[in-house]
Symmetry: C2
Amino acid sequence: MIRILDEKEIRQLVSLDLSVVDAIETGFSELAKGNALVPPIMMIPVPEKKGEVDIKSAYIKGIDQLAIKVASGFFENSRLDLPSQSGQMLVLSAETGFLQGVLLDNGYLTQVRTAAAGAVAAKYLAPQTADAVGVIGSGVQARFQIEALHLIRSFFTVHMFSLDADDLKDRYVSDMQRRLPDVTVVKAPSLEAVVRESSVVVTTTPARSGFLKADWLHPGLHITSMGSDTEEKQELEAEVLTRADLVVCDLKAQSVRLGELRSAVEQGLMPADAPVVELGAIVNKKAPGRTADDQITVCDLTGVGVQDTMIAIKTLALAEKRGIGRVIS
Amino acid sequence: MIRILDEKEIRQLVSLDLSVVDAIETGFSELAKGNALVPPIMMIPVPEKKGEVDIKSAYIKGIDQLAIKVASGFFENSRLDLPSQSGQMLVLSAETGFLQGVLLDNGYLTQVRTAAAGAVAAKYLAPQTADAVGVIGSGVQARFQIEALHLIRSFFTVHMFSLDADDLKDRYVSDMQRRLPDVTVVKAPSLEAVVRESSVVVTTTPARSGFLKADWLHPGLHITSMGSDTEEKQELEAEVLTRADLVVCDLKAQSVRLGELRSAVEQGLMPADAPVVELGAIVNKKAPGRTADDQITVCDLTGVGVQDTMIAIKTLALAEKRGIGRVIS
């Protein structure tokens, strides 16, 4: 029996809330316990269209399903007035290998699970008091990450900076004002202003050089950098990592190759075997998170297959419970 | 627009015929021309269930779709009276990355494209006259491979040997007699008898040691070995490869790791950079196939993503043309 869900159905079933954050936190916990088998990301390049299809997956011992996520990024789609990102997930039985669910989410679940990872990072690394927070970028993740942070910390102001056009930035402000009515969202005059004014900063860009400078760091700051997920991308100046008191990542093997650790290691500022902590180890209390209000902490998120498996399983279970979707026997 | 096809619909649309063989041959040709981007196979192990999910894909330049094939092998399923193999394919636009088709074929298309590769191998490597042919194994591929061979060469006798139970072997004989009424299918008394009596032998087993011995080779023999596709499997004694006049494989990078070349290289009988010919190079006339009736030729097939992309695209195109399947917009 195969259940097929479309994006509308999936959006009805799953939204960014604490139950999703819990599921993603469990995924990181299992990963750090060594209970997850995470193959390297499969990348199918389509150079003629500046496109790439990436496949992520993870089998988590003791969980009777696994997911395979297929995510496309085609950067000439904007010429066709189409989104560059798309994607879907398959859920397979980990008992028999049989297909059980097809989640035609158009990448929505990736957005939610990525934001939920930001919430997990904030839970363990953000200072307890964070009146003002910041975001770099004004796209979908800039929205989701601030919503995720709001599940974890109370704040009153969001400072946003983006290189996007004014209308996109204005839309971000009005969208976020509507979603978080108690919070004031302001367009910051500069990158530096966002960092200087905020206790927590989330970077959500496809930047290819470290725009966030180490000189702007201040005691008590937490940074979550979720933009870099390829060998070309980078958001944080490499010195940010050496200046921080604690550097955390989701999966070190990926962060060193595709995330913010890459540039620090390539520039010789960190050894490849630097004592970087994985987020799940903190969840499992095998390593400390933030231990003092004045620490500077950084979390680099590249996106791990365990997140996809956790959110896909949750989605399919909710659909089964509520009888939603088309069933093919 | 996403078109979803179930196994029954797919079986109505696609069967093993010369048009499928042509499509697979084109795939090998493009592969050998360097026009295919074939990422390494992604393997998700589920050791608790002796299971594994493998993902294959290929983007072929100039073709506007690509496929992703997810294939499961769970070897404890027989305890549940379920088949160990299952699978499905996704078809994505190579223009935009968007999903266009979900082929719920339960592994049927893999069976067809694997057999079609055997037909391509036979076309270029089997002796022109092959009155008697042989098959090792009595499963689904033992059926498909003989049907594929029959598209390419006229033969009158099939010698079959298998370690399966008698009832399975009898069913093979009666099935094949029905499918190929002009051919006599006989149970051979031994492995050796199959090889000695046949001009073409196809091995279709999950064996883990080289059961087909070099001592049994005779002038004019062609062997297609399609069973080995993991680091543990092997069907041909390594000396078979060194004794043959011509050794061909589908993709050298896979054959050295997962196919029959592995054991020969590991035993030091062949260098890892041995001059092994890829099937597509013969298709493209960049290398000769069989050039004399008395040559001994071997083709090792591990299964390449280009085959999956070619057959999946063909299936979806036929479904669109005939308006078959469920469409989700």
